[in-house]
Amino acid sequence: MLLVIAYSRASRRDLRNVYRAHEDSVVRQFGRVALFTETEFGAFQALRLREKHGEAIQIERTRPFNEFAAVPAAVREAATAYENRETPSLPYERFAAGTEHPQPDSMKESDL
């Protein structure tokens, strides 16, 4: 999908207008952010917005997220384990300390 983000009142208003005029090109709309279909028409609408509003429109392309392909097992397991922890108020850093779970710092340094 194409992720379109508005950074000004004018661009937000026009983004909303796309949603109103072309509902089938817009998968989801959240005020100043929208997901357009990844079709030529979706791209056309996004590019129109950028042509008109320049920097005030950001366009990104999303990919389906397959955590088994993209994310190391240790990270996946840490997420599951942490969400099933016994002590709710325990911050992750303490939870992971002294275990095999990855530390937040090292995860922050590692791109997917």
């Binding site: 950074y7 000004s8 009142r9 004018a10 661009s11």
Partner: protein
């Protein structure tokens, strides 16, 4: 005409070669009311064939300065602006001025941090924060066009577009050369298999490989540069976010100011409406049709620039001028 002095509220109006002066001007030539209104606003209109010398219009003039049968009217906005001409203030005015100033500073910062700053032209006339204080910022078309024109022309955004184009081009080129290498390799092997002379084919392959190496380097460099520009754009987004928040805050403040101003003049508006000739007020003064509402608003506003009059409700243009307490150019 040289001996005549134009007092502040005397209007001088020229249509073609005909010059008229006074507080009440009756134009007999066949011209559009909107053209005359343009002349009141800008000094001249219709390629200079119409000219008006008069006090400058205030923002309320945009709404009630050209009274014609088919007019539309944003009543609340017009009322709020009329209130401003009467010197009315709101508790939001200081905040509006503050936020507008901050926003302007951010916009200048954005223009300044933009590469090739010479390309952005921020030098349009800025409305004072209070003169547009009573309306939703998004509904001011002049401001929007001004802001949008600047945003689309930022050098950073254009650089990013150029970079994307370059990266895509080098990637395409590299792919084409890869195919050339594969083809050359295939031809070389075929010649070898058939025991034919391979010198030329080998040289072709070597050339293709050299070209590929060059293309891959270029492609990598383009991607790197793209990454750098993307980072620069991302950093500018923070600036944009802050601008956006301020824009929203400013619009909200203006909306509240407008609401307060409308409240302050509402009673006078209702009373004035009741006095509009040939009009029977309904339940809600704010629902009154454009012409009576505009007449009432023009009347209660402190107008010094002339009102262009293209309607027939009054006994005479002079009577209209008195009723409105404003100079009149009757079309």
């Amino acid at each position: 005409m040289s001996g005549e002095r134009t007092t502040p509220d005397t209007v001088r109006c020229r249509v073609g070669d005909v010059v008229r002066r006074g507080r009440v001007i009756v134009v007999t030539e066949d011209i559009e009311a909107t053209a005359m209104a343009t002349a009141v606003r800008n000094g001249t209109a219709s390629n200079g064939s119409i000219a008006v010398e008069a006090p400058s219009p205030t923002p309320v003039h945009q709404h009630v300065g050209c009274l014609r049968p088919s007019m539309g009217l944003r009543t609340r906005t017009a009322l709020a602006r009329a209130g401003r001409t009467r010197g009315l203030e709101t508790t939001h005015d200081q905040a509006i001025a503050r936020v507008a100033a901050k926003l302007q500073a951010l916009r200048e910062e954005a223009a300044g941090s933009d590469e090739h700053p010479g390309e952005t032209d921020e030098s349009g006339p800025e409305e004072s924060p209070l003169s547009s204080a009573d309306e939703n910022a998004a509904s001011s078309p002049e401001q929007d066009r001004h802001a949008v024109r600047d945003e689309t022309r930022t050098a950073v955004a254009e650089t990013l577009t150029d970079q994307r184009r370059a990266a895509a081009a080098t990637a395409t080129e590299t792919a084409a050369i890869r195919e050339r290498v594969a083809a050359a390799r295939g031809r070389l092997e075929a010649r070898r298999d058939h025991g034919l002379d391979t010198a030329a084919a080998a040289e072709e392959l070597a050339d293709a490989i050299a070209d590929l190496s060059e293309a891959e380097t270029e492609s990598a460099a383009a991607e790197q540069q793209l990454g750098r520009v993307r980072t620069a754009v991302r950093e500018r987004r923070d600036l944009q976010e802050r601008q956006f928040e301020l824009e929203d805050r400013l619009a909200n403040l203006r909306r509240r100011a407008r609401s307060d101003l409308v409240g302050a003049v509402q009673n006078e508006f209702a009373t004035t409406l009741a006095a509009v000739p040939e009009y029977q007020p309904g339940d809600d003064p704010l629902d009154a049709p454009p012409v009576p509402a505009a007449l009432a608003i023009a009347s209660l506003a402190a107008l010094r620039a002339p009102v262009v009059l293209a309607i027939d409700r009054f006994d005479s243009p002079g009577a209209a001028s008195e009723w409105l307490d404003a100079p009149v150019i009757d079309i």
